[in-house]
Amino acid sequence: MASIDRRDFLKLVGAGGVGTGAGFMLREAIKHPVENLVPYPVPPEDFSPGIATWYNTVCSMCSAGCGITVRTREGRAKKIEGNPSHPVSQGRLCARGQAGLQVLYNPDRVTTPLQQTGERGSGDWLPLTWTEGLSQISGRLGELRSSGQGGAVCLLSEGQRGHMHGLFEQFMANIGSDRLVYYDYDHPHPLLAAMNRLFGTSELPYFDLGNTDYLVSFGADYLGSWLSPVHHGLGFGRSRQGRDHHRGRFVQIEPRMTLSGAAADEWIAAIPGTEGIIALAMANRIVSQGGYQGDDADAWAAALEPYSADAVAEQTGVAAETIARVADTFAGTGPSLAIGGDGAGRHSNGVDALTAITALNYLAGNLGIEGGLIFNPEPVAGQGAAARHASYRSMLELAEDAREGRIQVLIVNQANPVFTMPAAAGIGEALARIPLIVSLSSFMDETTAMADLILPSHTYLEAWGDDFPEPGVGFRAGAISQPVVSPLYDTRDTGDTLLAVAAAVNPDGALTAATTEEYLREQWRAIFERDAPTEEGTAQAQEAIAAETVEAAAEVVAQAAPEDDAAADAPANAEAAVAQVAPAEGAVATNPDPAGWMPDAFDEFWNSLLRAGVWGENTRAEQGPVTVDASVIDAIGVDAPEFAGSSETYPFILQPYLSLNMHDGSGANLPWMQELPDPLTSVVYGSWLEINPETARELGLRDGDLVDVESPQGTISVPVLTFPAIMPNVVAMPVGQGHSEFGRYASGRGANPIEILAPQVEPETGSLAWNATRVRLNPTGRRANLVRTSGLSRDLGRGIIQTTATGEAEEHASTKLRSIPITVEPA
């Protein structure tokens, strides 16, 4: 089966033959037959021993929202693959996505409702029935609500999107509380603020890596942990070698080499927190060289005046010629793309920096074009979720409310702030003041260990949900999460738990669905009905369905969208077109006309959705000219970053980074992730502190020497590891280890750098400036166990990895594959 690329996908959407603006379906294009319309728990009659069954659902191992397809045999999940029809993953998956099976089959899951019988944190748990558990929480919430204190209930959850956000909102409305708080350590607050400031949009844009010719990334580890790594990987591969000898080039600017830095054609070391200043110097160069001709060129020139490449070279650690060269290539190559991510955004000047970086796309004309920055339409559901995402500052307010007794009940759902907030925030001690903590988490993590009552949720492979990926892919797309196996334990769907509580507390509330599945069906019915097509659409679709052959459908599709390129591509897309049109019979059938030709049309639609694992809509926004407000241009500027701790006492800047395996720590309980060698250092099962080899030599430190890393806020002990690609005054450490709870694979292993971070925030968003803490290193004289997979770290002339320079292909042609004849002499 051919994987679809984004462009084909877009064409497909553009060519939609099923009435204008109608929602469409892509039937799953995987080669394994998916015979199931409904998930495993419902009809066991399709259970054939020895035959694999595949279910489509959504990965929830990070926030990217990759569509996945899960292979099951005899009712057990065996393997996860990317869903080839899903525009984000397109059949591919990252290591963490692969390891989702170990979330489901993790030996350390909470398997039944539990009540804490001893002191909080004592770990004395008494198993309860669901009836007992639910009545405990409902009883307390009911009391609060009827005494008008519903507002003292707080629901603290990992981020929710799509209709699940709606369910959470309605649940809180039922209780009478506005304290719905989402908390994710790496929520991109600074990038959202920058997008909003520049373009007035509240959606993350689509970064079209696959079609770009020149990418400049300021600290965004787009291949490792930033936003949507699988989709970025696809784009990277295509830009590199998927475009007929037209190879995109990649530049990475950051203090410590990330996975994306290693993949880049050029890696430029820059002093932490100065990424935005470099971007302004590039902008200055572009404008002053006449590379930008817009009406507001003068305003830009004036605002950028102080940021010449010469003026910032010393401050940023990047030579003026380098800045000028990158700027010239950036402006002179089309399309180019500038992205700024966590490395650059997690400083006191984070929003200003990301604004400056994103503005480069405006100046170079990369907005709304293929290979540039494409604006995303508002998602079809889940509006308002963004406003619920707590920053570090709002979490402090929550902690303050907890201390002041303004929170009576805390419901925690999969969020683990006790692990992902600095000790300086005092969140654990604040939460301990809350009289009742109920956790809906699937694992005993640090926050759940403080709970009085645990009502454990299913893992994502057993649960219902839906998802509209963020960042989107330039058009509206979504997918349903469905259970792929029956629940292993006495756990429940988070949504079901909330619905049951809501019904008990407030039977007259708006939340009437009995189950999450029912709730989702109601919501999707609205989408379905909204998409009721025109009569011609119906006719065309019927024609296409009747045609039932690839060729015939191609014709119908081509006719329905008589634009040149769609017609030209029709044969190529024909197979996909059949897939597209056929399931759409459901969508078409929602004819409000009582004589509609398919009364159970919605069921058809719903089953097609589950089968396909993806839903999409032709909502590419018409991109008019974008203007940036004059006041924004005037105010453009990036201050020097502020750090906690003086450079005399604390000579090193600490860069905690999200590792590919562990992410924000949620991957640490998966043995596959513990055992996956870190992509840059090959370390397994532990923590380490990366330090420049020269610096280590000066300090007399060798790999594996245990040092105390001391910040103004605290100390952790970790072994050092010399890392050839880090600035001399910077040390870096992966986030994710150092759990005190979280199961046998995670707890008591390594150290957590977040613990010692100073409470430094970016002032506009209040998000944690996690790259802005200084530390000093105190050798302990002890050695630590630093386990790495074996192998040399230098090639030593063996020619194992061979390279070539572009345009020099002929020179190497002679060393093409050859086989040397072997002769074996008879003895």
């Binding site: 051919a2 291949l223 060698p677």
Partner: protein, 254 residues
């Protein structure tokens, strides 16, 4: 004597490059080093597909890791002009495989599809094959491994689990090849390009890996073999690998 002569005659034929071209399929993988980012998705995908045990920290500390595909990392230069290059390394399914000739019990042999196969229940654990493999891609079960319940529920029923004392290595996901061949046979056709993808190939986010039949001149993998960037690792050893690497492109800064 005639037995020896026969043996040598067939041996000569068997070791001649191109011998396997006469068979129906010659499975081959290509690895584009200009696409590979070293992300390691292939490693975990393989571990999940092939029931590769979780060996634990201590075993890895003693060099006893088990992953059939690994990402080798090579640093080049010093700060700030430093590069990190990655290369996925897996069994090369050599047509002239040094590992095969040394096995006293023929537990490792070449099958007619060009695969270097390992018969677990014939293996007696001499480990000579691992010594002879120049790519260091054979892994020995020093222990019996277990999966903490219920992790074993994930185990792939199409792949056997291995016991202590047995050598194992990449099989090019032979269970998937076999399944594709079965389906093709039922439909009375050859396996077509794209019908079978090993787990690593299927998951690779950058599409760095391509798998297919070298005997089919139109397959994607055959095309990549004609790419001017194609090379074999340690080709001077004349192992005639079935894994083809495409050189990484390194441009001058512009």
């Amino acid at each position: 004597m005639s037995f020896i002569d026969d043996f040598l005659a067939s041996w000569r034929e068997y070791r001649e490059p191109g011998y396997y071209d006469g068979f129906d399929y010659h499975w081959t993988m290509s690895v584009d080093l200009d696409r590979c980012t070293g992300c390691g998705a292939c490693i975990t995908a393989c571990q999940a597909e092939n029931n590769i045990p979780i060996v634990g920290e201590d075993a890895i500390a003693r060099g006893r890791e088990m992953q059939w595909i690994r990402i080798e990392k090579y640093w080049e230069g010093e700060f700030p002009d430093v590069k990190l290059r990655f290369i996925p390394m897996l069994c090369q399914h050599c047509d002239a495989a040094p590992c095969e000739t040394v096995c006293p019990v023929s537990a490792t042999y070449h099958n007619q599809d060009g695969l270097n196969a390992q018969v677990y229940n014939r293996c007696i654990g001499t480990r000579s094959c691992a010594v002879y493999c120049p790519y260091e891609v054979r892994y020995f079960n020093y222990n019996n491994h277990h999966w903490d319940a219920p992790l074993e529920q994930q185990l792939n029923p199409d792949v056997s689990v291995r016991e202590k004392g047995v050598m194992e290595k990449c099989s090019f996901c032979i269970q998937r090849i076999r399944q594709a061949k079965d389906v093709a046979k039922d439909e009375g056709r050859r396996v077509q390009d794209g019908d079978v993808q090993p787990a690593c190939v299927q998951t690779c986010p950058t599409e760095a890996l391509v798998f297919g039949d070298q005997n089919d001149p139109d397959s994607r993998v055959s095309q990549t073999m004609n790419d001017e960037r194609a090379y074999h690792v340690l080709e001077e050893l004349n192992t005639a690998p079935s894994v083809v690497y495409l050189r990484k492109v390194e441009t001058d800064a512009v």
